[in-house]
């Protein structure tokens, strides 16, 4: 099992959710986050005062998937989140040791 964390542009969230649903991913967790990468921040000017805004708003999407759908899931996120412009985000993949469905006590891929 793998754990996918994707940082994407906020307005791409719906497309990513739909793409993941389409390949059978059963659930995702979404968090509003801030950060910077190569896109860096921007400056804001209020009368005479200039402030550098280092952290831009992004959305973090997390999903746990079975190994055999990993490639499909990565492709789905990559395609649906892309605009081709700087700031599209990144996808991180981790090994996932265990999953437990709290209601039933199922574990492993059964719990996905």
């Amino acid at each position: 099992m793998k754990f996918i964390t994707a940082i994407i542009k906020p307005f791409k969230l719906d497309e990513v959710r739909e793409a993941l649903s389409a390949i059978g991913v059963q659930g995702i967790t979404v968090t509003e986050v801030k950060g910077f990468g190569r896109q860096k921040g921007h400056t804001e000017l209020y009368r005479g005062a200039e402030y550098v805004v280092d952290f831009l708003p992004k959305v973090k999407v997390e999903a746990a998937v079975d190994d055999n759908v990993l490639d499909q899931a990565l492709e789905a996120i990559e395609k649906s989140a892309a605009t081709g412009k700087i700031g599209d985000g990144k996808i991180f993949v981790f090994d996932l040791e265990q999953v437990i469905r709290i209601r039933t006590g199922e574990t492993g891929t059964d719990a996905l």
Partner: protein, 442 residues
């Protein structure tokens, strides 16, 4: 169409002594005194408009510019200082500002409004046309209130609430009242000198701007100034506030004509056009210099234009007003940028950059555009050079007087309670630490 209420009441006649030649002459003079219902309705409406400028106009304009943790402290300071000054105006302010005394301050004849009754009358700019004195006092009380409230923007986000109140009482008493008397009071020094200040460029705006600047120096910079982000928390509210100020300012300027006549119409149209010009001027300059025109810039431009047309609105023509508005937009943009950096004070909400600078620009340009050749209302003997000098002198007197009194007032507040809140409280925000509440909950 004009409803005229002749004030020669039966009781007045009965009260007259045995008829003699002198009494008849007096009777004739009394008979000519008129109170117009239209004037009374207008001045009371104008009073409400000035109240709306302060609450919620100025409060929201300022409040939107601070960080969310200090929102309520600014709203609270504006509301309390306005109320405090208005009350003090009734207790002794009206008497000291608007009775005859010396050229610099009035007398104590009307403290606690003694002798003022429902039948008392106040002068207008037309001989024998009067207003109920109560209406005039209420109108002037709102001016006293908003002037004190303007100052709080300079030391926002770090001054102790008790110190704000102590400063306000002292400055109101020893600065606002004398300047008000000098410019508008009977026998006032600057009035007799010939200074033109229709609605309060010196009395209200330069006065408050200087007091704010001195405060910014004396209270010191906010913790993290220039390093941490102090971006406005709601420019939406700032825009709402600026717009309420604009609407309310028609009461401030056109109301200062006291009568609902063509003079009020002139001030009215000037208040509209000068402000529109200043909005566009500030935005254009920002777009050219910084690349983007900002909403905050447009709102600041509106206030700058309103401030600058205040002294001029009764003595310049609409085209003169547009020039004054345009110049104020450009110059005040410099006031909150280049000039602000040169001064090196943390005037948090640019009370000096907008009100002080805009007031000076307006006061001096009044001497230019009052010229009949430029569409102003100056008479045939109007001399621009001389008038500009008189205007400049009134500006200098106001600056020096306000700066000295403000310095002393802050010093006294510092000795009594200390000017600043402790660092920990400043970091947590004044809403919680000074007032025990938060503006927003998630």
């Amino acid at each position: 169409m004009k409803t005229i209420h002749t004030l020669l009441s039966a009781s007045l006649l009965v009260g007259l002594p045995a008829v003699s030649g002198g009494a008849l002459a007096q009777e004739a003079a009394e008979a000519a005194v008129e109170v117009h219902k239209g004037d009374v309705a207008w001045i009371m409406t104008a009073t409400l408009l000035v109240l709306m400028m302060a609450l919620p106009g100025l409060a929201l304009f300022y409040g939107g510019l601070v960080r969310a943790k200090n929102m309520l402290s600014v709203l609270m300071q504006v509301m309390t200082v306005f109320s405090l000054n208005a009350l003090l105006f009734a207790v002794y302010g009206y008497s000291l500002a608007f009775t005859e005394g010396t050229p610099f301050i009035g007398s104590l004849d009307k403290v606690f409004l003694s002798g003022v009754t429902i039948d008392s009358l106040a002068d207008t700019f037309t001989d024998n046309v009067k207003l109920p004195e109560f209406a005039f006092i209420a109108f002037q009380a709102t001016f006293a209130g908003i002037t004190g409230a303007l100052v709080v923007g300079a030391f926002a986000e770090r001054m102790k609430f008790s110190a704000v109140l102590i400063f306000s009482v002292i400055w109101f008493t020893f600065c606002y009242l004398p300047i008000c008397h000098m410019v508008w009071g009977p026998g006032g020094y600057l009035l007799e000198d010939g200074a033109l200040d229709f609605a309060g460029g010196t009395v209200v705006h330069i006065n408050a701007g200087i007091a704010g600047l001195v405060g910014a120096y004396m209270v010191g910079k906010r913790i993290g100034f220039g390093r941490e982000s102090m971006a406005p928390h709601s420019l939406t509210l700032t825009m709402v506030g600026a717009s309420l100020l604009w609407v309310g300012w028609f009461g401030f300027n056109a109301g200062s004509n006291l009568e609902a006549t063509s003079g009020a119409a002139l001030a009215f149209i000037n208040t509209l056009f000068a402000t529109a010009a200043a909005v566009l001027a500030w935005s254009l300059a920002e777009a050219l210099l910084k690349g983007k025109p900002s909403m905050l810039g447009a709102a600041s431009g509106a206030v700058a234009g309103l401030v600058a047309i205040t002294p001029a609105c009764g003595s310049v023509g609409p085209m003169g007003a547009i020039v004054i508005g345009t110049l104020s937009g450009f110059i005040c943009l410099w006031g909150v940028n280049g000039l602000k950096h040169m001064l090196g004070a943390d005037d948090a909400l640019d009370v000096f950059g907008v009100h002080g600078v805009g007031g000076i620009v307006g006061a001096i340009l009044t001497g230019v555009f009052a010229a009949p050749a430029l569409g102003g209302t100056g008479g045939e003997d109007f001399a621009m050079g001389a008038q500009v000098w008189i205007q400049t002198w009134s500006v200098i007197v106001t600056i020096v007087w306000s700066a000295v009194v403000a310095f002393i007032a802050y010093k006294i507040a510092d000795i009594l309670v200390g000017l600043r809140v402790p660092e920990e409280e400043e970091r947590e925000g004044l809403d919680i630490t000074a007032h025990g509440e938060s503006a927003y909950r998630s």
